[in-house]
Each structure stands twice: as structure tokens, then as C-alpha cells.
Symmetry: C2
């Protein structure tokens, strides 16, 4: 099987390393020639080019570009690929992609491998990034069953854990556990930066330790990624923010009312149920 | 110098281990006799008892009980100690303690060693817990200068990093970086638990990874500790919650208005300034 990858960043690079290791022929397309050279040198691709024409004989193409480039890339690919080629993507929001992409290319399969690391770009690529991590496939009513089966097979081959759901359920779930935490954490940093008393602000900086570090981590991350989440998953994110604001107001109310019994009940429920989200 | 410690939990136990190692004579008081025996066996104390009378000949006493027991313990200690004995505490909120404690005992010095670990109790005690971590001393106008100097000397001897501020500034600073993060993080877990669609709720649990894990950590911790923070630092915590709610509303507004330029500005400011809180 001949596999194409468009976009040789972290995810595209990792897919290339793993799939080539498994014996597939991998063709990579990157905008910059030095990325092509790096991918060739690292053994992530058999051939690389900045021209999508390189992919014309492939059986399946992974679109691993930033979110905003996924649909334009599929439009371009359509000019080069044979009709039976499967296209899949790795975008972190699915509703904004899948329906339109399936109209552009009937053998399109939306997916989201949920693996990552702090560093971005091909230089951070490594083998086995996907092992044990979720790979969500989001078919729609018109999805081609054979195309879905092919993406399923490749996702299993890199030893991901597979999940199936609608694009909309995917987007609501990742709003809760990925996009909302970014906004919650970002608001914490913003609030701390607004302390008007310079002595208290300095003291807060001096005394901050692991609790602040962990709670503020994702809110102090890559700004472009944060904006991208909000842009492409706007509706689902706004819904979770609305629920979240109610919870902040509820806790505030309990503290104002000195209702310590109910505050303890809430915190106990958290302590009991948080582990449900952390099962490996 | 003879040192007393009331409460042989994590902090009291660690103080005993370090101070005894430095050559001081350490007398420990714990409610339970098996804690006394454990402290003796571990070499954290020279003598141990459940009777405060053990401390009558000490030069300084560290009150290392839970917050709610600090003032009652000082009242009890006052019946046993010589007037020149210094009393200090390790409570994580200072306004609710320092003024009243100084009235009960003129040679009282409020302080807060900001060291900890996930486990609690004497069994988690270890040497060198305080090394490099903040030890905040919060004198008031009437504090005895010699008493403050003695606490300073002992805090330095366990190789803490010393900070001085008023009890009120301490409480506002820890509200920002310790108590507010607990409520922010607790509200995130609560909100996620409120998703009405069972399939989406299950998917969110399956897909949660490091972003959710870190942002939810302190909100899923010890409920008693969370209630204690809110109870004893209520006013300062409510002020930070008010600021925080405004930030959540501001980010929500930017997303509603699709104002991506200003959302990126906020996230960029966070990325730039978060490291100010993480200087070792």
C-alpha cells in the first residue's frame, strides 16, 4: 500500500516514521524543502516533495496540515488523486471539516489521533507516539465503509486505541476535556495578572508552586492553537463555558453563604469522579 | 535550644526530622500515642507525649495542627509555657490566626512554610522537605522582634527561602496562586460531570488526557483542605473569584464576537507572563 502524507509536522512526521517502519511506502508533501529533506533523512518518507502531484498513485492520503488548511488541501488533492484513493485528516475539530470534506471527496474519512507533545514540528517527530492513545474516527451517514475500514486498519497498525462517534459528539467531548480547560486555565492567569497591588502581585509570583503551575499550564500554551480551538469549535466551546460559569457562580455562592457542608459535598464528588477521566 | 512541636503530621514531622538532625532537642506532642511512637522510632523527636505539659521547658513551639485547632492549641499552651517561650504556627492562612494569637501570646510569630506533598500524616514525613521552598513570616506591629528573629533563624536552618509580609498580603497572594486554582479546577470537574448526554459524557472520559489531568488536579484533591481554605480565607478568595468570573466572561465574549485578534492577544500575554510565576 502506498500512503501519502500532506504536512510533515509532528503528527504527519510521526505517522510517516511508524507507517514506513511497518513496511508501507510513504510519500510526503511539505511546503518547505528543508522539511522534505529532514523527513527523508530521518526515514519518515520514501519520497518527499512540495508538489501534491507526488501523491497521485497513493491508496490513502493523511491530511496533517493545520485546521485552516485541511479543506483547501482536499480541494487541491482532488485534482491529483484517483477516485478510489481514500483521504483522511487528523484535525482536532471534526464538525467544521467532515461534512464539507465528504462532499469534496466521497472517500473522505474524518479522524482525530489524540496524541501530542509540548514541542511541535517535524523535529519533534518520534516513533510510537500513537501507542495506547485514542484515535477517534468520525464517520457520517454517507461515509464509504471500505474507506472507513482502511483508516481503522492503519490507526490500529500504529497501535492506537480506536473510538467511533459522530463529528458533533467528538466536538462536544473535546470541548469539555481539551478546549474548555484551555479557557479555564487562561482565565486564571489573566485574573492573577490583574491584581492591582504590586506588592501582592509580586508575592503571588514568588509563592506560586505546583498547584498554580498545573492549573495554569494549558492556559499559558501556544496562542495560535488556543485561537484555532475557539474558532473551529466555537459553538460547543461556548456551551461548555456557559455550564462552567454556572459552576463558578455556584461555588462562589456556597462560599458566600458559608455553606461548608455543600462545598465539601462538591469537592468530595470531584475527588470520587475525577479518576473516571484518567483511566489509561 | 529546646524545640516543641504540636501536631506530628507531615509538616510537624518534617520539622522534627530536620531540626533534630541540626542538633536541637525536639519535644513532640501528638494526640495519638501511635503517632508519638512512630515519631520516636523515626528519630523525629527526642521525647513525645499526648500531654502539652511536655513542652514546659521549651524555648520555641511550632504549632503544626490543622487550621481550626491552632488558636485553641495556643490557648492551652499558654497554661504550660514560660512567658519568654516563642510560639509560631505553620497555618496556610494568616489573617484569621495572627492577630488573635498575638493577643493570646505576645511572643507569637505567624508563619507559613509553603512545602507539601500529595501524602499527608507523619508516615509521609521526610528530611529536607523545606529546602528551597518559601517560608513566609507575617509579623504585625506588635510582634516581638527577638521572637521574629528566632523563627527566621530556624526557618533558614531548614534551608527555606524567607519572605516577609503582612498577614493580609499573604492571604491575598495565596488566594491567587493556591486557593483560587482549587475552585477554578473544582468547577471544571463539576461542569464536565454535568454533561446531560451520556454518550458524550462517556466519550469525554475516554478522551481526557494530560490537559484535563493537569487542569483538574487540585480541584480533585482533599475536600477538607479545600473547605478549610474557603473557610479561613473566605474574603480574599471571594475577591479573586469575582475577578476570575470577569475573565471567564471576557473570554466568552471574545469567542462569541469571534474577536480572534484579541483572543490571541490574551493568550500571548499568558504565554509571556506565566513563566514569571514559575521562577525557582
Amino acid at each position: 500500500m502506498k500512503i501519502g502524507i500532506v504536512g510533515l509536522g509532528l503528527i504527519g512526521g510521526c505517522l510517516g516514521l511508524d507507517l514506513r517502519q511497518l513496511g508501507y511506502q510513504v510519500y510526503g508533501v511539505a511546503r518547505r524543502s528543508h522539511t522534505c529533506q529532514a523527513a527523508l533523512a530521518a526515514g519518515a518518507v520514501d519520497q518527499a516533495s512540495s508538489d501534491l502531484g507526488l501523491l497521485q498513485a497513493t491508496d490513502v492520503v493523511f491530511v496533517c496540515t493545520p485546521m485552516a488548511a485541511i479543506l483547501p488541501t482536499i480541494e487541491q488533492l482532488a485534482k491529483h488523486l484517483a477516485a478510489e484513493t481514500v483521504i483522511t485528516d487528523v484535525g482536532s475539530v471534526k464538525g467544521a471539516i467532515v461534512h464539507e470534506a465528504t462532499q469534496l471527496w466521497p472517500r473522505f474519512v474524518g479522524a482525530h489521533p489524540m496524541s501530542g507533545k509540548a514541542e511541535a514540528g517535524f523535529q519533534a517527530a518520534q516513533r510510537d507516539l500513537f501507542v495506547g492513545n485514542p484515535y477517534v474516527i468520525t464517520p457520517v451517514a454517507t461515509s464509504d465503509a471500505q474507506a472507513v475500514a482502511l483508516v481503522d486498519e492503519l490507526a490500529r497498525s500504529v497501535r492506537s486505541q480506536l473510538f467511533y462517534c459522530s463529528p458533533e459528539d467528538h466536538d462536544r467531548a473535546v470541548a469539555w476535556i481539551s478546549h474548555l480547560p484551555v479557557m479555564v486555565s487562561a482565565s486564571l492567569i489573566q485574573a492573577c495578572l490583574k491584581e492591582p497591588d504590586a506588592a501582592v502581585a509580586q508575592l503571588a509570583q514568588n509563592l506560586a508552586s505546583s498547584g498554580f503551575r498545573d492549573t495554569s499550564r494549558v492556559g499559558g500554551g501556544n496562542p495560535e492553537l488556543g485561537v484555532m480551538m475557539a474558532q473551529f469549535n466555537r459553538q460547543a466551546l461556548l456551551q461548555t463555558l456557559e455550564h462552567y460559569r454556572h459552576q463558578i457562580e455556584h461555588l462562589t455562592h456556597l462560599i458566600e453563604a458559608q455553606d461548608w457542608a455543600n462545598l465539601e459535598k462538591v469537592l468530595l464528588e470531584n475527588q470520587t469522579h475525577r479518576p473516571d477521566f484518567l483511566v489509561e
